[in-house]
Amino acid sequence: MIPLLLRDIRLSVRAGGGALIGVLFFMTVVAVIPFGVGPDLNLLSRIGPAILWIGALLAALLGLDRLFQAEREDGSLDLLLMQETPLVLTVLVKCLAHWIATGLPLVIAAPLLGLFMNMDEVAIGATTLTLLAGTPAITFIGAAGAAIAVALPRGGLLVSILVLPLAIPVLIFGVSAVHAAIEDPAPFLPPFLILVAINLFFAVIGPVAAAAALRLSSD
């Protein structure tokens, strides 16, 4: 499993800089927002956490269609299917590798973009922390979408359409945890713990569904 993890990370960092493109997209989306809503710093600091979260969500969805597509194209997907290790475990490891290569850079880039949004330290910290807890969930549930669309010639956009409604809870609890951290009366922990719970839940159903879909679409 470790070799698979390392291989996937290496491939996604090397091949066309897929990981960096995600971060670049994230930065571009966040940079475009002030042009839309105006350069009012107070407004930006108020909507900043939400902007960062939406940008990260879109950037995480962007690379998802490549999760199994490259393997299918060069035939190694069939080898993964024939392995003796359970397919669910393989999918889980691939998700982890994908998250390390594309999700983690988003989390690391978030504090810098938070400065652009005129957010204070607490808000930046909370946003980074919730992104750290929330982006794996997007990858896990996105893996199910990617596996479903793997047989399609132009699956990229469809994956986003299928996954976005399912990712709404992640967005809601991520943003509300940040808001709870900024505004005093609301406690930070409950939404954050629910976010972690959703993460764990998706870590189960995402790979299981993805493995089922891969098996069903391979025959």
Binding site: G145, L152, L162, L164, P169, F173, F201, A209
Partner: protein
């Protein structure tokens, strides 16, 4: 023990599409007729009852709106059962059923959204509110559209589309409670109830009677449309198989000549 085995045998009889088509041909005129009668009765009741003392005549929108909203959820449950049928029992008609139900569910959800919007304008003063219930129905609508898009994208291979779609339906079905819960959480956090909601008082029998009749009528309407859509889907698949055979036969003749 004899009861379930008999039921299963009967149910598995339906796996034969020809037998299913014969049953549909026998049943659907009755179902359609009963639906029409119930709709006539329900609509008569809807317009014969009193208007609400606060909402006036607009309360009659409820007799369309509530059954449509109810069906939008029931349809997804039907699809989830069909998805289980596809994945677990490999019932040949289950994937037909799931595929036929998706556009119907989208239509009922759209009806619920539009009538709700029309009702909201006079009552709340706005076409759309980011209220928890409205939002979750809207997300359900998006999920229906995603499923339809998936079916269309894999139109050349309906069996595989059905299997993969079944996985998606089940993932969505597991997620719907989470989405509902999170949307409610989100709403209470961001927006205190700024809109006077109807659901305070328990509903009066005066309104309940037409509502129930309309709900049964809508349910029967759904099942009529569903079996007809399933029939069309089976026929469509047969035609495409026949076409493929015909094309192959022509190709063979061409190579012989």
């Amino acid at each position: 023990m004899s009861e379930p085995s008999l039921a299963i045998r009967k149910f598995s009889d339906l796996a034969n599409p020809t037998r299913f088509l014969a049953l549909v041909a026998l049943l659907w005129p009755w179902m359609a007729g009963l639906t029409l009668c119930l709709f006539a009765f329900g609509l008569y009741l809807s317009f014969a009852t009193l208007g609400d003392y606060q909402q006036g005549e607009t309360v009659r929108i409820m007799y369309i709106h509530v059954p449509a909203a109810w069906l939008s959820m029931m349809c997804y449950s039907v699809m989830a059962v069909s998805a289980l049928g596809t994945l677990v029992w490999r019932h040949p008609l289950a994937d037909v059923s799931a595929k036929a139900a998706a556009p119907l569910g989208a239509c009922f959800t759209l009806i619920a959204l539009i009538t709700g919007s029309l009702w909201g304008k006079p009552m709340w003063g706005t076409w759309w509110v980011w209220d928890a219930r409205l939002t979750s129905v809207f997300v359900l609508f998006l999920m229906y559209l995603g499923l339809i898009a998936l079916n269309r994208a894999m139109a050349d291979d309906p069996t595989r589309a059905a299997k993969v779609g079944a996985v998606l339906i089940l993932v969505g079905f597991v997620n719907i409670p989470i989405i509902k819960f999170s949307v409610e959480w989100w709403n209470t956090l961001h927006q205190p109830a700024s809109v006077v909601r109807l659901d305070g008082p328990t509903i009066d029998p005066e309104f309940l009677r037409p509502l129930m009749v309309m709900a049964v009528a809508f349910t029967l309407f759904f099942f009529t449309l569903h079996v007809l859509a399933m029939r069309n889907e089976i026929l469509r698949r047969r035609i495409s198989v026949l076409r493929r055979h015909a094309a192959r036969a022509v190709g063979r003749e061409g190579s012989d000549a």
